[in-house]
Amino acid sequence: MNNTVLTNVFRFLGLLLIQGLVLRRIEFDSGVWSYIHILIYPLFILLLPFRTPRPLVIFSAFALGMLVDLFYYTPGIHASAATFLGFVRPLVLSSLEPRGGYNVNFSPTITQLDLNWFLKYAAIMLVLHLFFYFSVEAFTFTYIIRISLNTLVSFVLSYFAVMVYMLVLVPKE
């Protein structure tokens, strides 16, 4: 129990630092590359244990988003997207629920379920997060094409980053 909490606290801090110190510095200035933002911190929300109370999921997502916003100098933008992701997480989980149901003592990781399931789960969650994030960043749906392009291009690299993290560190809970 304590172990799980500690793991998640460290993951929280680790993803925050990777996002805020490393991935923030990767910028592409020209052409289609300027649409790219590599976002890995949503992974923390993805990997919270099944039994985490819903308000706690939402609130920790909000806190992580706010801290990322501190690095990006964009108060509220990452936070709103992360809060949204925390809110929809149970809906995505229940739509992907396997026949036997989830084991509430675990987290939704590759080791606990399987790779195929996690690929689907991460794709849905990342697209939701990125689309919400770029919509809030544009703050108007006038630029819906730009928002979609941003989402699409950023999704490819963010998905890649998330998978690298999962396959290298192989988190169990």
């Binding site: 509220g76 933008i77 936070a79 809060t83 960043e137 703050f139």
Partner: protein
Amino acid sequence: MRELLYVLEWLDMRNPLLLIFRYGGFLLFAFLEILCFILIVQFNQDQQAIFNNTWANGTAWMDRTYVGAVDYLRLDRRNDSLAVVNARLYEELLAHKRVLEEMEQDSLYPFYLDSLFADTVCELIPAAVIRNSISSHHNYIILDKGSQDSVDVNMGVVLDNGIVGVVLSVGKGYALVMSVLHLQAKPSASIKGTNYFGSLTWNGGNPRELLLENIPKHANPEEGDTIVTSGYSLIFPKGIPIGTIQSFQEGDGGSDTYQISVKLFADLSNLDRVFVVKNKDREELEDLAQKIQDE
């Protein structure tokens, strides 16, 4: 029925915590998103500009819609006030016309220049047409002004480009007008610039055509000449344009007069706002006529 019981249970004031318990996730989500929205608008320049712009557009749109709606409700009153203004302007125009004509006809005008500053000859009361007809031989019009607006019997009813009729009777808030398109209506008119006059009659046919009778041949009328009111009755002020001469032929009255066919400027089948003429000299002139009769 069971669902209804659940709803009542949720709304039970003894268990307000239950509501938060069931919807806590959503409430927290909504609260945090509102907080984020405030932060975004407060601390991000681009988003703040978009928000301010949208907000300003929205309020401007609501403002415009509101003003438009209120304006629409005021249209009626505005029309009425415009009609009053028109009446005042028209009164002055008629006064100036009279002075100008006197000047044209009288080489002595420099000796009474002060008549240039003549008072208006008549007062005009704007009125709206409630009912109108042109289909019978005896056409009548009903106006929305009556004795309470100082409309009286035998007053003329005019437009800025024609005459409409004469008030036959008045009620408190309406007036019955005998149209010039009435076999018995015979207003007097003359050719513009001369003092030869005759009476206008209608033959019951074309509502845009009247006949001017008893114009002497030596008046030399020509096609296209303008016909105006003569001012020889108390009903219509002098110089209101009525129409143009369409054609003329020898009249029934005698071989030395013409019968002139006049094409009207105004379309009397399509009346909206008209003016009732209240002649200011009327009482004085009626007294004079009475004295002549008495002697």
